[in-house]
Symmetry: C2
Subunit: 471 residues, 2 copies
């Protein structure tokens, strides 16, 4: 048999295994050497076989780990719709719903699919605690002293080192540290807007942004958003004259998980530069990519200093430390003086602890492991949802982060069903939380940054059955 | 000799010693038993002698410590004038000056009389560091978890326990913790004002309040303020219809050190309740009293929930921890939801550390020692200033806190002389920092929460000579 025919034949065998479900989404394929031995072929032929399967999107390679059955190989459920927020619709405040969800967050007896942070079991807590003790001793008197308003110098240097994706464009002096990423965003909004102004955001959008904007007297325009590619830049352009700032998550947004393509990012920054509209870019999930490399932030394309790039460690290391930062471009001095007035400074300890972890604690290794866990969990969730949720469920396909966005049958009202679900010890984040308009009532967000085990799988099945029954 | 004649005679001898300067301000008098033995009199007669001297304000008793020569016994310098801010005067922004003073704060080679916090040597740093290590171990996973927005429960309970002065009126649930006291004030202002509103403050006033108000688009009315008794309530009443909130330090204000009498506090709260104007009461220095007991806050008189009582530990324990709180009365829910949006929550660690120190670390003992040190320093500063500053210097007489307010010859411009002083390695806080108007140019604030030793005394003398030379 010619080599070409040979690898075709073997690829067909594996393809059949995938299509029949013998090999399932997220399963690891045998190594190249195993395939070589099993089929008695050359290494090159084995490679050709895998390339063939990859070109058909049936499998995907993961860095330093091998080949896996890809999600698109067996995808049965459709993607959620591109959102089309009705800007004329009456606003409907979801505050009450949000408070209700917050209240149940502390209940240990409930499966917290609604959580916005990773489960403790995925965080390097023992290492961090050890570092807290070491750094406390090292700091001595400095631990109780007030540090400069811009933030801890060691920590800012570490952030700059880790901002590899910016190709060395930023130094420690370009950053200002903040008590959490939400505070970075709050400070950015304070710096570039005043009461009565208008900001544009994704739709659905993280509810904290809506509440914050409201508390600041800002109007919010929700933009049409694609579950895969993020906000619709053309729709933004049409209303840009009304907008004083844009605020979005370019990489793996919350809740849809969409990832804005580089070309869109570049176009967005060019457009905002032209109209002189600042961009508050929340890049909290950027390091949690499932692909080969970290996606770029819009900040990479920022020549005029209009992009305020916000980040933090709440989604990867320690939510309770409340450590975030912003590279505020031309608004740096304003942000520093605001921080000085609002909080004077931040404690040095946790900033030094994170700097220490970034330098010596195996930050890279931790992130790699966390990404693998999240990617695997994402695929396991999708399989379980395909098997146990109503057949017309639509589901997002995030390339990073830890949220899945589900669009259920139109007759389902997730906010209305929430109390019933809590009775079943199951919680989720109803779609209605993520918009100021009366929409996404049949949607919900699920957190997959939890420890995958039989209990979790069972709870996810129960959630599917719960919705099947509700129909 | 009759007993009456006897104690009169001995009192006269001691009085002569005080007036001649043989006994100096702040010197400790011999104990009652020593006086009894020296003069061969009964213990009662000795007591009468001291009562006589005390009634003349020549000496003062300090709890559990004995009798001391009082400041009023030898006071040579006058009190600073009652401020009369000219509300029609053009505003003059002191931001540049403030930045200059901030810049020199990190220089270790300069005597930092300008500092707004106590010197490290007066703080229980070793104990706190030990507690950080203990609490980190105790907290385990909880150290990286997000706590409820209202703040750490143990800590709030400890604050309530320590708010003895409020006679049990407040429980832990009445408090919201904040990243520092400035953040408490910021949050209070955010809760009760909007851009374009007007607040009333003391004059001179802590410059951070002026800068914060300006950044929030608030107008500020500076009120006439007495260096001993604080703001003029009648002056406030005249403009109360223009005012959306009052913001002041009722106990040992910064920079004058004035202490509002209880009757004034009560009248103030009654008046503000009548006009429904909220009071943001910054009580950061209340525990640093030199007298027999802690002065009451205005909050004691608050029946309607209009007083937002702010406090913290930056002036007594650990400035760098950035731990403050507020008992926001009827604005509690608003403050909590603002905190949730702006910072989500605070790290548990330092809150637990302070709670631990309040419960088991000897907080009471630390405060007692700190108060004694500050009181002694205050008197030593006053003696040194009397001896070495220009004879027409006026000086405040604080009953607590750690600031002295000096009013120098009218030809002196402290802001102008600042650079020259820095060349002499001496820094102070020029009066111009503490007002939005063109006033207090011949004033300055000195910090006496420093370690008293020959060097410090020498630096203070040098500062006096510096101003003598400048004249």
């Amino acid at each position: 048999m010619s080599r070409e025919v040979l690898y075709h034949k073997i690829a067909k065998i594996i393809e059949a295994q995938i299509l029949s479900g013998t090999l399932r989404i997220g399963d690891k394929l045998p190594s190249l050497r195993s395939v070589q031995k099993i089929h008695g072929i050359s290494l090159n032929t084995a490679k050709q076989t895998f390339l063939e399967l990859e070109s058909k999107s049936l499998i995907e390679s993961r860095a330093r780990s091998g080949y896996y059955v890809s999600i698109s190989s067996q995808r049965k459920l459709a993607l959620p719709s591109i959102s089309k927020p009705d800007l004329t619709a009456k606003e409907k405040n979801p505050d009450e719903l949000i408070n209700k969800i917050y209240e149940s967050l502390n209940r240990k007896d409930i499966r917290q699919f609604s959580l916005g942070i990773p489960d403790d079991s995925l965080l390097p807590i023992a290492k961090l605690n050890k570092s807290v003790i070491k750094i406390t001793r090292d700091l001595g008197n400095k631990g109780v002293e007030i540090e400069p308003a811009q933030g801890n110098e060691n920590f800012r240097r570490s952030i700059a080192k880790w901002a590899l994706v910016l190709e060395g464009k930023l130094t420690g002096d370009d950053f200002v540290t903040t008590p959490g990423t939400m505070n970075a965003i709050f400070n950015c909004l304070t710096a570039v807007t005043k009461s009565g102004d208008t900001i544009a955001v994704e739709s659905p959008v993280y509810f904290g942004i809506l509440q914050l904007a409201k508390s600041m007297g800002l109007n919010v325009i929700e933009l049409p958003t694609d579950p895969v590619f993020g906000v619709d830049i053309d729709a933004l352009k049409k209303i840009i004259h009304k907008v004083n700032a844009v605020c979005l998550v370019s990489n793996f947004n919350n809740p849809m998980g969409s990832l804005m393509p580089d070309t869109t990012k570049r176009r967005l920054v060019e457009m905002l530069t032209f109209y002189n509209v600042p961009l508050i870019e929340d890049d909290l999930f950027g390091n949690l990519y499932f692909g080969a490399s970290r996606p770029k932030p819009c900040k990479v394309y920022d020549e005029a200093g209009i992009v305020m790039w916000c980040g933090g460690i709440s989604k990867t290391l320690a939510p309770g430390y409340r450590i975030g930062w912003v590279a505020p471009g031309k608004f740096k001095n304003k942000i520093i003086s605001q921080k000085l007035l609002q909080t004077v400074s931040m404690p040095s300890l946790y900033q030094e602890v994170i700097a220490d972890f970034m330098e010596f604690g195996g930050y890279d290794q931790h992130l790699r492991k966390l990404r693998q866990t999240l990617h695997t969990n994402c695929l396991k969730y999708q399989c379980t949802i395909e098997d146990h949720f109503p057949a017309n469920t639509k589901i997002s396909q995030p390339q990073g982060g830890f949220f899945l966005w589900l669009e259920l049958d139109e007759r389902i009202d997730t906010a209305e069903l929430y109390d019933l679900a809590i009775e079943q010890k199951l919680s989720f984040a109803p779609g209605r939380m993520f918009t100021q308009h009366d929409q996404f009532n049949n949607c919900m967000r699920l957190n997959f940054a939890l420890q995958w085990d039989d209990n979790l799988e069972n709870d996810l099945r129960r959630l599917g059955q719960f919705f099947k029954k509700a129909l």
